[in-house]
Every structure is written in structure tokens, then in C-alpha cells.
């Protein structure tokens, strides 16, 4: 296996290893169990959303409205539990159902009006983010039931609950994408939507389904965030849309669709998590985090792009 093929398959793990090694050396306490679990917990919510976004991206679309969905879902749950006194479980189910329906709406608009999903979700993102502020006039909601904190702050043994949920969601997603016919349809419609249609894939229905899936997992993440911060914040998830896509692209998911794996996306999430955590431990000014993340992203994508071009040139010369 030559160097380029190796990089294509394992490159992302190498980068993760490099980053971990770097911080193991330069950041005090980085490699302690406590800290590593901390990193995992911090990326869990983010990671769950990335899994959802990955489904959409591999299918050839984009969902910028995940942040807005998190905010509104959190606000609705906050109102139901804190103000209306609804029990935890029904509240969670209602929020998840509502958010999933919203995702289906994203998909329907994109399909029926034939607008590129990035544009549609840009619009719905703005609507939702605005709505989240309108709901309480910009104030967070407090007074959530005590039992609810288990979701975001609880442990099973030494493992934080969010991490367990992240692992479960990722495992299911991995299974669906790589082992089921549904997963193949996703790759097909992302890689070549017209060929997929001719191969019998109902591309329109699949698109709606993918957005619904993304929203479903986003609602799970939003409930976790609600529980962790013990409040419903109207600005929840504001940075998520772009951070999620960054993690996905870092993990090898192509914007064009049809490529990438859940494994890669998870590694992308971990890299971002490690970077955030390591830089913090090193005492680096938080403003530098963005700069460094950007550099890592451009480098990783750049190497991938160069390697892709080399493969194309080789194929053309053949």
C-alpha cells in the first residue's frame, strides 16, 4: 500500500495521534484519566450533532440549522419542565418529536422547492435562532427538575452519561451507514444522485429522512446540554453549525457527498476536542483556538485534496 493510499485510510488517525502526542508532552496533566474523560464529555454533545450532520453531508446536503434547533428545543423543554411542570420523560419525547419533525420540514422544503439544502437551512437557522430569543425575550430559563441533571451530569461508574450516549449514537450510526442498505442509499445519493435515482433509490424521500435523522440526534444533544448547564439558553449551539461541519470535513466527509465514515467524523470530533482541551491546559489564550483549529483544518483538507488530485492525474495518464 503506497503512502497516499495509507494516508487516505489512516491519515486522520495519524493527525489525532500527533495532536495527542503533542499535548501529552507540552500540556501538564493532559494524559490523566480524569482529563481524558473530561475531553470526552465535553465533545459528547458536539459529537452527537456531528454524527447527525455527517448523515446529511454524506447524502450530499448540509444542515446549518442544527444550532438553532438545539436552542429552540432547549427552550421548549425548559418551558415545559420549569414553567408548565411537565414530567421529564414526556417533555423529552415531545422535544425529540418536534425537532425531528422540523428536520423533516428542512428536507421537504429542500426537495419540493428544489433549493440547495445549505440555503434552506441557512434560512431555518436564522428563523430558529431568532425564535429562541423571542420565546423568553432573551432570558435563559432556570428551575429545571433536579432529577434531570442526571442526563448531562451523571455517571455510570466512572463514565459520564453524555459519553455513553455519544458512544451509543455513534455505534448505531456507524452500523446503519456501513452495514445496512439504507446506508448504501445514502452513499449512492451523495456520490451520484442521478445514478442513484436510476438505481431505484427514492432520493427525495431519503433526503427528508436524513434531515429528520440529523434533527433527531440534535434533539438528544440539546437535552444533554440542557441538563449540563441546568438552564435553557437561547444562544445554545450557536457555534455548532460551522464547528460540526469543520469536524466532519476534518474527519474526511466531503461536502460534495458520497464519501466519509462515522469513524472519521468521530476522529474529527476528537481532534477538535483534544485541541480545545490541550490549548486550555497549556494556558493558551482562547482566542488562539480558532486560529489553530483553522490551520489544522486547512492542512488536513489540503493534504487530502492534493492526494485526490494526484490520484486523478494518475488515472488520466493510465
Amino acid at each position: 500500500m503506497n503512502a497516499l493510499v495509507f494516508y487516505k485510510k489512516y491519515g486522520i488517525f495519524l493527525i489525532l495521534l500527533l495532536v495527542v502526542a503533542f499535548f501529552a508532552v507540552f500540556a501538564s496533566n493532559f494524559l490523566s484519566i480524569d482529563n481524558l474523560l473530561n475531553v470526552l464529555r465535553q465533545v459528547s454533545m458536539f459529537g452527537i450533532v456531528v454524527v447527525g450532520v455527517t448523515f446529511v453531508m454524506i447524502g450530499g446536503g448540509a444542515d446549518l440549522s442544527v444550532g438553532g434547533q438545539m436552542a429552540v428545543s432547549g427552550m421548549v423543554a425548559g418551558i415545559l419542565m420549569a414553567k408548565a411542570g411537565m414530567p421529564i420523560l414526556p417533555t423529552m419525547l415531545i422535544c425529540m418529536a418536534l425537532t425531528t419533525l422540523f428536520g423533516a420540514l428542512n428536507g421537504l422544503i429542500s426537495v419540493k422547492l428544489n433549493i440547495f439544502s445549505m440555503i434552506v437551512t441557512l434560512g431555518t437557522m436564522l428563523i430558529l435562532q431568532g425564535l429562541a430569543f423571542v420565546i423568553t425575550g432573551g432570558y435563559p430559563i432556570f428551575g429545571l427538575p433536579k432529577d434531570f441533571t442526571f442526563l448531562g451530569q451523571g455517571y455510570v461508574g466512572i463514565v459520564p452519561v453524555p459519553v455513553i450516549l455519544f458512544v451509543i449514537v455513534s455505534a448505531i450510526a456507524w452500523f446503519v451507514l456501513s452495514k445496512t442498505y439504507f446506508g448504501r442509499y445514502v452513499y449512492a445519493m451523495g456520490g451520484n444522485p442521478e445514478a442513484a435515482r436510476l438505481a431505484g433509490v427514492n432520493v427525495e424521500r431519503m433526503r427528508v429522512a436524513l434531515f429528520a435523522i440529523c434533527s433527531f440526534v440534535t434533539s438528544i444533544a440539546s437535552l444533554i446540554m440542557l441538563s449540563r448547564t441546568n438552564s435553557a439558553q437561547p444562544s445554545a449551539g450557536a457555534s455548532y453549525p460551522f464547528d460540526c461541519m469543520t469536524a466532519a470535513v476534518l474527519g474526511g466527509i466531503s461536502f460534495a457527498g458520497g464519501e466519509g465514515t462515522i469513524g472519521g467524523a468521530v476522529v474529527g470530533v476528537l481532534i477538535i476536542g483534544v485541541l480545545n482541551n490541550g490549548l486550555l491546559l497549556m494556558g493558551v489564550d482562547s482566542n488562539w483556538q480558532g486560529v489553530i483549529k483553522g490551520i489544522v483544518l486547512v492542512t488536513a483538507v489540503g493534504i487530502d485534496s492534493v492526494q485526490r488530485k494526484a490520484k486523478r492525474v494518475k488515472a488520466a495518464e493510465a
Binding site: T180, Y181, V201
Partner: protein
């Protein structure tokens, strides 16, 4: 028509991988003549035009303009020499006005600032000369194709065109618009412009052309004075090749009716009826753009039908989308195998089973073992040359790619298989393998449709041939009646033709 040379091509040759598009072609084009360029699909007309227009460089030979011989032209040089082309797809900007399009990217006044008034006046002057009534301020997107074409002509005239090439100019026009176009053409002719006119509508040529050059399989055949020839003679010249290739033998035993199409319309075709039996190979002949692929798309559910019915094994069926077709056992091997038939980034095995993926899944889970078995089965049966079934289809040769597409269709249990241009771009050896495969499939009881622009292929492989022209069926021939000239004749029958269709 004078006897001065406007432009000549001498010994022009051009090859592409696998095909010799032009073979030492020499033609003289005279000043002020309307010179028709005719021939079947693949005769070399487009390639010749592209060389003259500077869009392609020939491998050998020269283009002689104004006494100078050029080994190759580029678009700017061709424009300077007074050569202009009007392709079938217009190169106008819909949102800009007529005048802006006529003078696209050219200065109409000496200063930096655009003088819109001067530009409009200049455009108006050109239309006056062409004796056409057109407001230069109108946006081009409001114009009908006929007037858009006039704008294209005006564009050429504004560049003081000497040789104007028109590719199928009357295709989008109504009868009265054709007359308007002819008026403009005659006008240009009177001013000494040479018109090279590509068209399949032979009747029109007898109205407007002075001479016609026939090309066949990339070579020059003959040039005739229109006044001294006939439609029949031209068709014979276009088609009259010697059939050298042999096609594999087949014992055809025809079974029950597999497919019947009644009065089917949609996607640009109208009122098509035909039937197909098990074990039969039915060919569809016609010129490029006649509507054969469009018809197959309707049958396959890839395009909506606007009327008519489809029967499978005698029962009426509704095919609304490709998944219906696949479920009913209809398979399509698309014309664009790389773009529509395969997922180039995925492996041979992945591609082979994708049409049938649900049927090899237990619940949601894909049975990878079954996938491997099926892929291996077809790899052996079709002799797909590859080191591994995990090889990406994008890396395969054209012939092997086609085999994977065929395997993909068969793996989904297709009983009626439509092949659209099955051997295009495939080397001779692989071609014959595919012919043998098609015969085998027919002998096994599949019903086969072949859409092809290669006449010899149709004549050699099919039991029956249906001819489509401009979205309608113009004829049907049994094997005993097969005749190149007759087929080409039927394929050239335009809607505005005064000849009765079959």
C-alpha cells in the same frame, strides 16, 4: 454563387482514442454558396466544423483561408478570418438585451464607457440589413428560438463574417420561422457570405442549398450540385457502406410477449406503440436527438409519461419511477454509463448489487457474503478483467465498466433489458464480448432493446428495427427488410416533411 474559394480543407484528419473521426477530408467551399454538409451520426460533420471554427486542432492536413494554409486554427484566429459558427445550443446571455448580445464583449465606441445608444443603433442597422423586424432593446430571454437564432446571425454579421457555419438551424423552428431564416440566409448569400449548413432535413436542402457534401464514417464521399441530385441519391451516398464486420450468430426462438407499449407519450416523444417478445432483440434507429433515449427514459420511469400505457407480460403496469421499473424487471443500461450507470468511487461488488440491494438484505442488514457471491458470479460469467472485486469502477476500462453495468442490471433480475448505446467508446474486442453477451441473454429468454447510432450494430444484432424521428415512430423493419438506405430515409423524416410517415 461565384467560383472563388472562400475556404478549403485539405487532407484533414483527426483521431480520438478508439475512433478516427476525420479521415483525410478535402472539401472546397465557394464564396456566396450555401453548402450543405450531410451524413449520419458519427460521420464526422461536428468534428470537421470544430476544426474549421478553431475549437479543435486537426492531427493532419490544413485549412486554407484567403490563400493561406493553416495547420490549425484557434477561436480568435477563426474569428479574425471571418469564420463564425452558430451551434445548436445558442451562446447568448438570456438576461442581456439583443444589442448587448450582438456586441457581446466588444467595444462599439472608442471610449471606456459603454455607449448604449450607439450600440443599439448599430444593432438596429444590422437587423435592417437582414430585413428582420427586431427591437434591439429587448432582453434575449423573451425571444423565441427563431429570433434568438437571428441574434446569433447578427452577432456573426457584426463581425463581418465571411464563412458562417450553421448546425441544425431549423431544428427548433416552425415552418414560417424556417421561411424567415431562409430569407436571411439568401440575403447573406447575396452579400457573398458562404454558408456551411448542417442538417438532417433533406427536403430543406433542396430549397436552400446550392451544393451538398456527403460524409460517411469520417471520410469524404462526394459533393453534388443540389440541382443535379435527388433525396434518394443523397441517402444512398450517406448510408452506402460495405458491411464488413461480422456479428455473432444467434438462434432466435421467440417466446411470449414481454413488453408492449401503446400510444406512449412523454419527455418529447409522442404516440409510440410497439411490442417485444422474449428472446427478441429489437433495435431503435434514429438520428441523435430523435427521442430514442427519451422514450426509454419514459419506459423506465426515469421521466414522466403524459399518455399511453405500458404492458408487461400482458398486464398493464404503472412505471412512475425507476424503482418501479426495477421491481417489475425492466433494466436500463444508460447511454452515459459513467455518469448515470455507475458509482465510480465505489467497488465493482458494491456497484453490482446496488440495484438489488434490498433483496440481498436481511431486514436492514446487507448480506456481504451474498454480495461477494453475486459479484464473483458475474465477474466469471462476463470475464470482467480486474485483480479484485474491490477495485473501484472508476479505474476500469470502458468495456469492463459496461460489463459491470450489465451485471448490475441482471443482478436485479431484469427480464426486459434496454441497452442505450451499448458499445460506445469501447474497443473492438470488448465490443464483441458484449455482443455475445447480448445474444446469450436473448437466448436465455430475456427481451432486449438496443438503442444505437451505429447502423452496422443494429443491422447485425437485431431481429427487428424501429425507426424514430423527431419524437415519433416513422417505421418498423423486419430482418428480411433491413436496408441502410431505407432506415436512414425513415430517420430523416422531419415533422414538417411532406412525405407521409409509416
Amino acid at each position: 454563387m461565384s467560383t472563388n474559394l472562400a475556404l478549403s480543407v485539405r487532407g484533414l484528419s483527426k483521431s480520438f482514442p478508439g475512433v478516427k473521426a476525420l479521415d483525410t477530408v478535402s472539401i472546397d467551399f465557394l464564396e456566396g454558396e450555401v453548402h450543405a454538409l450531410i451524413g449520419e451520426n458519427g460521420a464526422g460533420k461536428s468534428t470537421l466544423i470544430k476544426c474549421i471554427a478553431g475549437a479543435q486542432a486537426p492531427d493532419e492536413g490544413s485549412i486554407v483561408v484567403g490563400g493561406t494554409a493553416y495547420k490549425a486554427l484557434d477561436p480568435q484566429l477563426a474569428a479574425r478570418l471571418g469564420i463564425a459558427v452558430i451551434y445548436q445550443e445558442f451562446t447568448l446571455v438570456p438576461s442581456l438585451s439583443v444589442a448587448e448580445n450582438v456586441f457581446l464583449c466588444r467595444k462599439t465606441s472608442p471610449s471606456f464607457i459603454v455607449d448604449a445608444k450607439a450600440r443599439q443603433a448599430k444593432a438596429a442597422e444590422i437587423f435592417r440589413q437582414l430585413k428582420v423586424d427586431l427591437d434591439p432593446a429587448r432582453p434575449v430571454r423573451e425571444l423565441s428560438p427563431a429570433y434568438q437564432q437571428i441574434v446569433e446571425i447578427a452577432k456573426a454579421v457584426s463581425r463581418e463574417v465571411k464563412v458562417l457555419i450553421m448546425d441544425e438551424p431549423t431544428a427548433p423552428l416552425t415552418t414560417s420561422e424556417v421561411e424567415m431564416l431562409f430569407g436571411v440566409v439568401r440575403d447573406l448569400q447575396a452579400k457573398g457570405v458562404t454558408i456551411i449548413y448542417i442538417s438532417h432535413r433533406l427536403e430543406e436542402l433542396f430549397e436552400i442549398a446550392d451544393r451538398a457534401t456527403v460524409m460517411r464514417d469520417g471520410a469524404y464521399v462526394a459533393t453534388k450540385l443540389i440541382s443535379e441530385t435527388s433525396r434518394g441519391e443523397l441517402i444512398e451516398l450517406m448510408a452506402g457502406r460495405k458491411l464488413g464486420e461480422t456479428y455473432p450468430e444467434r438462434r432466435s426462438t421467440l417466446g411470449n410477449e414481454a413488453l408492449r407499449v401503446e400510444d406512449l407519450s412523454g419527455n418529447g416523444v409522442e404516440h409510440i406503440s410497439f411490442s417485444l417478445r422474449r428472446g427478441e432483440i429489437l433495435g431503435f434507429a434514429g438520428l441523435v436527438g430523435a427521442g430514442r433515449t427519451e422514450l426509454m427514459q419514459v419506459i423506465y420511469g426515469a421521466a414522466p409519461s403524459s399518455g399511453g400505457a405500458v404492458y408487461l407480460n400482458g398486464e398493464k403496469v404503472r412505471v412512475r419511477r425507476p424503482s418501479d421499473a426495477i421491481r417489475l424487471g425492466i433494466g436500463l443500461i444508460p447511454e452515459d454509463r459513467k455518469g448515470l450507470g455507475l458509482f465510480l468511487g465505489k467497488s465493482i461488488a458494491w456497484n453490482t448489487v446496488i440495484n438489488a440491494i434490498k433483496s440481498i438484505s436481511r431486514g436492514w442488514l446487507v448480506d456481504r457474503k451474498r454480495e461477494g457471491e453475486i459479484a464473483q458470479e458475474y465477474r466469471e460469467r462476463f470475464s470482467i478483467k480486474t485483480p479484485s472485486l474491490e477495485q473501484m469502477t472508476g479505474n476500469l476500462s470502458g468495456g469492463n465498466q459496461q460489463k459491470v453495468v450489465i451485471a448490475k442490471t441482471l443482478a436485479a433480475n431484469s427480464r426486459v433489458i434496454i441497452f442505450d448505446e451499448p458499445t460506445r467508446g469501447i474497443d473492438v474486442g470488448a465490443k464483441h464480448e458484449i455482443y455475445r453477451l447480448m445474444n446469450q441473454l436473448a437466448e436465455e429468454g430475456h427481451a432486449i432493446i438496443i438503442v444505437s447510432s451505429e447502423m452496422p450494430e443494429l443491422l447485425g444484432m437485431c431481429d427487428r428495427i424501429i425507426v424514430i424521428a423527431e419524437g415519433r415512430k416513422t417505421g418498423e423493419l423486419m430482418k428480411a427488410e433491413f436496408d441502410q438506405t431505407a432506415i436512414l430515409d425513415l430517420a430523416s423524416r422531419g415533422r414538417h416533411s411532406t412525405l407521409a410517415s409509416a
